[in-house]
């Protein structure tokens, strides 16, 4: 178990549809620990998805509790998510996002403000949680990775298009 190298686009793994994890063997525990270790090693980023370390399986970790923005809100601390699925979305917010796998570029992305997400945690328990604010954005960003989406696929406006007509 160790921090892995974060893959950069155009690594093809980042554009893959990740497979559902059906059989929970030891490799799943290792994967979760690798994701946590990688997140912490990357200056405690707020999340890492399995394809970012080369595993085409549906697993992400998110932890906004160490970030400046996350500290301002109630949050769930470290979330280790297997087969996460967003089952409800509410509201819309535009945020500028960046991604470790696409360095030196940021873009304005429209995300749901509040989400309900279900997943299996590290103890294989099915969890359903509500998330909002920065945490909700981070979860949506990481789950996008599992479907082969980068924030580049979600950019809703150029930063200079504030005045663009409807």
């Amino acid at each position: 178990m160790a921090a892995k190298e974060v893959l950069l686009y155009p690594n093809p793994n980042l554009k893959e549809m990740c497979a559902q994890i059906e059989d929970w063997d030891a490799s799943v525990d290792i994967l979760l620990q690798d994701l946590v270790d990688t997140m912490v090693a990357a200056g405690h980023s707020v999340g890492v998805a399995a394809p970012q370390i080369g595993e085409i399986r549906r697993a992400v970790v998110v932890d906004v509790s160490h970030s400046k923005l996350g500290k301002k809100q109630e949050n769930h601390g470290l979330l280790q998510m297997i087969n996460p699925k967003i089952i409800e979305r509410e509201g819309q917010t535009v945020v500028r996002e960046g991604c470790m796998s696409v360095p030196d570029y940021t873009g304005n992305v429209t995300r749901a403000e509040r989400i309900v997400v279900q997943f299996q945690d590290q103890d294989r328990q099915l969890q359903v949680i509500k998330a909002d604010g920065f945490e909700a954005i981070a979860i949506q960003h990481e789950i996008d990775h599992l479907d082969g989406y980068l924030f580049l696929d979600r950019v809703s406006s150029l930063k200079t298009d504030l005045f663009r007509r409807k």
């Binding site: 960046g98 470790m100 920065f134």
Partner: protein, 232 residues
């Protein structure tokens, strides 16, 4: 806008561009000569390329908006073998405005590129080309919180200047600025959006306090917020 042209141009690119423009401008042939000279030099002196790192140019093109401008401009750049390193293009007023940082591995002087854009001038676009000093193409490494300042209110002189002065006096770097006059003729509203990078130690609240006085003075609404990208 996906403008990057990184594919090497075909070997006969200069031939093509010559064919494109020969009827319109005999001067095109002057453009060919320095390039050929460079090519010969490279063969004779393997270090010639090392001595001549990629030159970068600032290219500005503006003209009445219509469909096809980007295509015309990038066709010429592609056939010249230019790379588009960085670019921003938008409609300002009725004008389509293109600002591009371009580079070329072999052409180093402005004259060798300049004539290639003659067809654009003939189609009603204004073209400005400037050679960048070495290193002028490198984006500065700006560290700090990014803030957005929205300023809007009844149109009056000095809105841009007064806000910019408050920032400039404190060495705050404006990295993006948009202004627009909106609303009807009877009640024109001026809208300005500024992105600026806050120096270490400067907080959003500080910017808000600088702007507080301006709200009164200019009778405009001003809001300030952090838009530092979420690093995910």
């Amino acid at each position: 806008m996906a403008l990057k042209v990184l594919t090497p141009a075909p070997k006969n690119m200069l031939q093509s561009i010559a064919e494109l423009t020969v009827e319109k401008s005999l001067a095109t042939h002057r453009m060919l000569s320095p390039e050929r000279r460079f090519a010969r030099m490279d063969r004779q002196h393997p270090t010639a390329l090392w001595r001549n790192p990629m030159s970068h140019f600032a290219l500005t093109i503006i003209g009445r908006d219509r469909a096809g401008i980007v295509s015309e401009v990038t066709s010429i750049l592609y056939q010249l073998g230019c790379n588009i390193a960085d670019s921003s293009c938008s409609i300002l007023g009725g004008q389509f405005s293109m600002i591009l940082i371009i580079s070329h591995p072999e052409l180093h002087d402005q004259q060798s590129l300049g004539e290639a854009f003659a067809p654009l001038e003939q189609s009603g676009l204004s073209v400005f080309l400037r050679t960048l000093k070495p290193g002028g193409e490198v984006h500065p490494d700006l560290q700090g919180e990014i803030c957005m300042i929205s300023v809007y209110g009844a149109d009056k002189p000095g809105i841009v200047y007064r806000v910019a002065r408050e920032l400039g006096e404190r060495e705050i770097n404006i990295t993006d600025l948009n202004t627009k006059l909106i609303g009807g003729k009877d009640a024109p509203v001026y809208v300005m959006m500024i992105e600026a990078i806050l120096n270490p130690g400067v907080e959003i609240e500080d910017v808000e306090s600088w702007m507080a006085g301006l709200k009164e003075e200019l009778k405009v609404d001003i809001s300030v917020r952090s838009i530092t990208p979420l690093e995910l």
